[in-house]
Chain length 391, copies 2
């Protein structure tokens, strides 16, 4: 029998919520209940609040109340969004039709929302995070733990600017991440999904995050690899652009699968070059292969790239974005550019034919069909020993 | 910089065909040319012959002529299939419209076809292999090397019956495998694809196989893991059944991606339990994640399973196969049964919730919706540490 299963058998299973945070009667110490606040109330933030609220009600180790900071808006009816959420128990603007759970309290006052919490869940657009940190620094509990659900870190020349690092450094607290194949609206209606928590050091902290997010339809695992998990959430968008090109060129599923695989390999290689601590196994988790599949099957990066290739690259991404996304920018296109700068800066361009080709197609330097012309790019790799051995 | 790239930089690149088999002038030994025979001439066999023929013409280390054994048939025109192939250079029955290359010689005489070859490519339906081996044993060159492109080994209670092992044992020769995301008709029209060679010991042999198959649109890598590569080709069909159920239940891409990921994890775990030598990295190769994606996006296993779930399991797979596949049997359904027997026999059922659930749905013991009800099956796994750690 293989060691993997032996080790599993020898190791006592983690028995649901009872392992963590429960205190035995003879200890005579009152249980310290964790208190969770969700910072953000968009589509994904509201779903996160719903997941957390269902567990907070159920688990004795958490306070029932889950506070959700709402960036206040006035609705067309003249009412405040936070008031409507508290009255109807629905985020009528960003997640209509879904009850969040009666223990969710919308709070438009950021400082008030975070003050008593020892578990802070950050799920805002990434450009808000610096301002949020500035506003709450020094106003949170000293024992607070954070988790970031924010996808969209920037990759700068000197390396990626991780959101989890930003939170950690600005607030002086530990920060995990939660990523995965998570389409908010599908999880909101309780369709089966998975997610991955990345943690840095303390397994007990990761267990608490797993317990507060995990439900029967949202299966959460944790891996000790914050950087790997967080990078997956960003780099997959570059691969989705490549997959969209293949769709636009009508190359079929076989070619698309090959491109997705090469993309996954480059995600892994890039992450490991930047952070040698990144683990191969992370890419088998939901944040890796599953999120990649979801993003390459649906998603707007794939969709716009498909339109780009169908037009033979004659209409720019700027034009297509304006038309198809009401002015929103495609993350994959900007991430491809950022990744290209890192590769170019470090002399790694030839090691990453897919990443570099995606950018060169996006800026019109290569035609979309270049996405499947790998032979010219790869003579430096030994074909024997497996590509995974070298990248 | 990470060791992976350093090791790649330190290692001189394998320079195409010149590294292997070429002899330097000063050696004064005439180059020994390899001679390839393809045993099989169906759809995939014909494409394999085309790939090999293009390289045999190009590379000095191979004889130009590539012999292809044809299971002789009389066409409706009254002509013999082998004669038509040799006259038109097309397999008009199994790969019409594609020129195989003028150096492909169809040969209906099996013993004659294999006699002079030192490289034997087996690509027949798997049930033919025992008979073929019986017929040619003792009639092949002593230095012959084999490769199997045959998917569809059986998984018996006492373990899988690998086709490569059958060939090796019956013929007393070494046998590699070539698997991957390979839809024959797409490769025939030169759409970009990849494949994986699995080899047992000798890297030089693997290099020869890579050189004779690799083209600009068919990128081949080799890994030292015959069992892992060959098992991928079979087990993916069980996952495709699961993916088909998700499609039939209209659960969306997010759930489908999660099921594919859990399937990949179980493929890896099952292979490693049966053969501890199987490598994790094999599942990142084309034979692993890419073939899985192709099979779960298209393919008849997925399609029939989708129909099964749409009908709520009320029409049996036997019925659906008869209707949708003109009496052919679905490999995924029989492999799921075989895998279930192994799991049951060894007491591993609870370690493989997806594999076991697929079989129980196929035989009507569970409803199709059970495919996404994992929570009941998984309490024995610690959620922290990453699922990959235990499976």
């Amino acid at each position: 029998m293989a060691p993997s299963v032996e080790s599993q058998q020898q190791q006592p299973p983690v028995e649901a919520e009872n392992t963590v945070n429960s205190t035995r009667v003879e200890d005579e110490v009152p249980p310290i209940k964790s208190k969770v606040t969700v910072v953000g109330s968009g589509n994904w933030g509201s779903v996160a609040a719903k997941l957390i609220a269902s567990n907070a009600r159920r688990l004795s180790s958490f306070h029932d109340e889950v506070r959700m900071w709402v960036f206040e808006e006035t609705l067309p009816t003249g009412e405040k969004l936070s008031e409507v959420i508290n009255r109807t128990n629905e985020n009528v603007k960003y997640l209509p039709g879904i009850k969040l759970g009666e223990n969710v309290v919308a709070d438009p006052d950021l400082e008030n929302a975070v003050r008593d919490a020892n578990m802070l869940v950050f799920v805002t657009p990434h450009q808000f995070m610096e301002g949020i940190c500035r506003q709450i620094v020094g106003k949170i509990r000293e024992d607070a733990e954070a988790i970031s659900l924010i996808k969209g870190m920037e990759v700068k020349k000197e390396g990626p600017c991780m959101i989890s690092t930003l939170i950690s450094e600005q607030l002086g607290i530990n920060c995990c991440v939660l990523m995965g194949a998570n389409i908010a609206n599908e999880i909101a209606v309780e369709k089966f999904s998975e997610a991955t928590v990345g943690y840095r050091k303390h397994k007990e902290i990761a267990e608490k995050w797993v317990h507060i997010f995990n439900t029967s339809y949202f299966m959460v695992s944790a891996v000790q690899d914050v950087e790997g998990v967080e990078l997956c959430g960003t780099l997959k968008n570059v691969v989705a652009i490549a997959a969209g090109f293949v769709d636009g060129l009508e190359m079929g599923n076989n070619t698309k699968a090959a491109i997705m695989r090469i993309g996954l390999r480059e995600m892994k290689a890039f992450s490991k070059l930047l952070f040698p601590s990144v683990k191969d196994t992370t890419f088998f988790e939901s944040c890796g292969v599953a999120d990649l599949i979801t993003t390459c099957l649906g998603g707007r990066n794939r969709k716009c790239a498909e339109a780009f290739a169908r037009n033979g690259g004659k209409r720019s991404f700027d034009e297509l974005e304006a038309e198809m996304l009401q002015g929103q920018k495609l993350q994959g296109v900007s991430t491809a550019k950022e990744v290209y700068e890192v590769l170019s800066h470090r002399g790694w361009l030839e090691l990453f034919p897919l990443f570099s080709t995606v950018h060169e197609i996006c800026i019109g330097r290569l035609p979309p069909s270049a996405i499947v012309q790998y032979s010219e790019h790869t003579p430096k790799f030994s074909l024997v020993g497996g590509s995974a051995q070298f990248l």
